[in-house]
Subunit: 102 residues, 3 copies
Amino acid sequence: MKTVLSKITIISERLLKDDLIDLIKEVGAAGFTLTAVEGEGSRGVRAGDWEGRNVMIETLVSEANADRILVMLNERFMESYAVVAWVTEVAVLRGDKFLGEI
Amino acid sequence: MKTVLSKITIISERLLKDDLIDLIKEVGAAGFTLTAVEGEGSRGVRAGDWEGRNVMIETLVSEANADRILVMLNERFMESYAVVAWVTEVAVLRGDKFLGEI
Amino acid sequence: MKTVLSKITIISERLLKDDLIDLIKEVGAAGFTLTAVEGEGSRGVRAGDWEGRNVMIETLVSEANADRILVMLNERFMESYAVVAWVTEVAVLRGDKFLGEI
């Protein structure tokens, strides 16, 4: 009933939202979740008054697709934007539908 | 000081919020956290204009209770609703109070 | 390209937000993310009408710094406040910049 998958979490300025959604769709992600967040980092992402200036994007993918997404993030955004991304191993209910490959 | 527990994360349409809270209370969860989120999936959960149309529910439980919650979600909601659920292993500060059993 | 780090998640009443940010900065955290959340727990953190009455703070640190943060949370807040905190192991893209020590 459970499938071990990789959950990718990406936090960035909100202006990158559509580009990041396009990126995860490129690798065939079956969906995503967006949360409005605030934050502060070493490169200019600053905490505001709860306006949700940044966005957290989460998606469930295979381990191989998680690595693809990280490579693409690294190549396209890490040099020029304040983007943070990480992978968490999770056990997903009926998770086989998230295993789509490109 | 730390206890290894299962964090359940459930994402669904907001109309299921109360039913899902009832479900996790049935297994004796000591609490939960709600976040307003947006999203897009393969079954009609769509991204809106940041109105927080979907809800993310998180709760910390024992591994056995996590499995109980997944079984209940599967039986009650997975056929008819756009529900996504996963389990993450976490180390909780003073986590023994989340170990309540039914 | 990936570094295994500890993601600390802290949920508390919003009035503790600045104290908690100060605490994680004390150990040298390179940044943090804030999410407005609702919740219900065994000690009076209650679910409201989506006003985001509680705050979720997340930060990426070394395993040693994660333990330092848990000890500090335990000493300063766990007795008197409704604080929940846990650690998740994650693989972070270009995560070496989060390894700062005090």
